[in-house]
Symmetry: C2
Subunit: 201 residues, 2 copies
DNA sequence: CCAGAACCGAACACTGTGTTCAGCAATGAA
DNA sequence: TTCATTGCTGAACACAGTGTTCGGTTCTGG
């Protein structure tokens, strides 16, 4: 089970590719471990020597890629600190560069596990990024702002994936920014009360 | 299987209540049909005479309530047609009035089926509402605007539920409006290009 | 070359699903 | 109240999928 052994690398690679191919064909839910084994031509006991279950394989398959995205995010510098489209744009770009995998693991047929990971990841980044720039006694607490931006970004991502990536990632980012940034600015600038009370009741 | 027979009503009611109670205790995924039958004290064959499977029971359990929400939405009149918080606010209010059921069926432990229904429902309403008021050649297509607003609203809803409904539904609605409306207005008013190009690159 | 490690595959126990059917009990209508 | 109808029961069954075990085989890196 050490990855400098060629047999281990071969086995894992075969499983990952079989998983992605099969999810694209039949969807994650309608998929048994045995299906993956047959496609990958790997023995049953071998699978369980590597992964606890189907979900662990899914997570592992996405893990390297997620690490890459995390590095992109950490390396990012400059830009408007209030702009949620800064990290979200990296996510869009990353998805666009790995369309096949994203289609399999984050599309409608791909289960919710990976999406939950991305959700948490983006939420953490946005909390760090927006936190210092929102007024302490903000009428809209930081948690809600982050949840708003995160859910919206992932919603756009999933739809973009399921539509087959029709647009440029920059177009997606620009669209997301156009929709998201004004509201965040309004909240950060304390313009909320006016808006809220204007329509409350 | 006709619902003017008392036996049918009793059986279904027992199944619905058992489902909700058990989801709250253990989560939808970690729940077998047999668990529900034991709790409801209903025979196995009886269950399958009423529902195709566990998911069908879930859907049916939420169905009456969803119909009520739909009626609220249809009855709504007045207000800013560009404001996505108009229908979303009804959803928040509805959830607040039925906390126990929403906690069971739409919380993190509640699976994704009901959430998908709500997503589609809200998206349809918003498409109808916003469609006529967005410029035809909008740089951000109506589909993306709707997806943005819908995902954000449901994201806030889920978090609100899982936090145990700490805030007033009006506060939630106001917060959502403060975050969402400015962006929608910007897009509808054609201010998008400025924003987008300002930060693009 | 070779000791150690990974792989194989068949068998097994287990959990959960969905169906069937004969007998029983409650129901609503007359 | 009667009674044909309809729903409920519960046990049994076939089936699909999971996760584990183990003796034998094959490959790998040193």
């Amino acid at each position: 089970m050490v990855d400098h052994d060629r047999r281990v690398r071969r086995t894992r690679r075969a499983l990952h590719e079989a998983l992605i191919a099969l999810v694209l064909e039949r969807g994650y839910d309608r998929l048994t471990v045995q299906d993956v084994l047959d496609r990958a031509d790997v023995g049953r006991s071998t699978f369980y020597a590597h992964y606890r279950d189907k979900e662990a394989l899914l997570t592992a398959t996405f893990d390297d890629m997620r690490a890459q995205l995390q590095r992109d995010v950490d390396a990012q510098t400059g830009g408007d600190p209030l702009d949620p489209a800064r990290p979200a744009g990296l996510l869009f770009a990353h998805a666009h560069r790995n369309q096949r995998v994203y289609r399999a693991l984050c599309g409608r047929e791909g289960g919710t596990v990976v999406l939950r990971h991305l959700h948490r990841m983006l939420a953490e980044v946005l909390t760090t990024q927006l936190g210092p720039h929102l007024p302490a006694g903000s009428p809209v607490p930081i948690g809600l702002v982050v949840e708003f931006c995160t859910s919206a970004a992932l919603g756009l991502l999933v739809r973009w994936i399921d539509d087959g990536f029709p647009d440029d990632p920059r177009t997606m980012t620009a669209g997301y920014r156009a929709l998201c940034l004004p509201g965040v600015r309004a909240v950060a600038g304390g313009l909320v009360a006016d808006e809220a009370q204007m329509w409350l009741q």
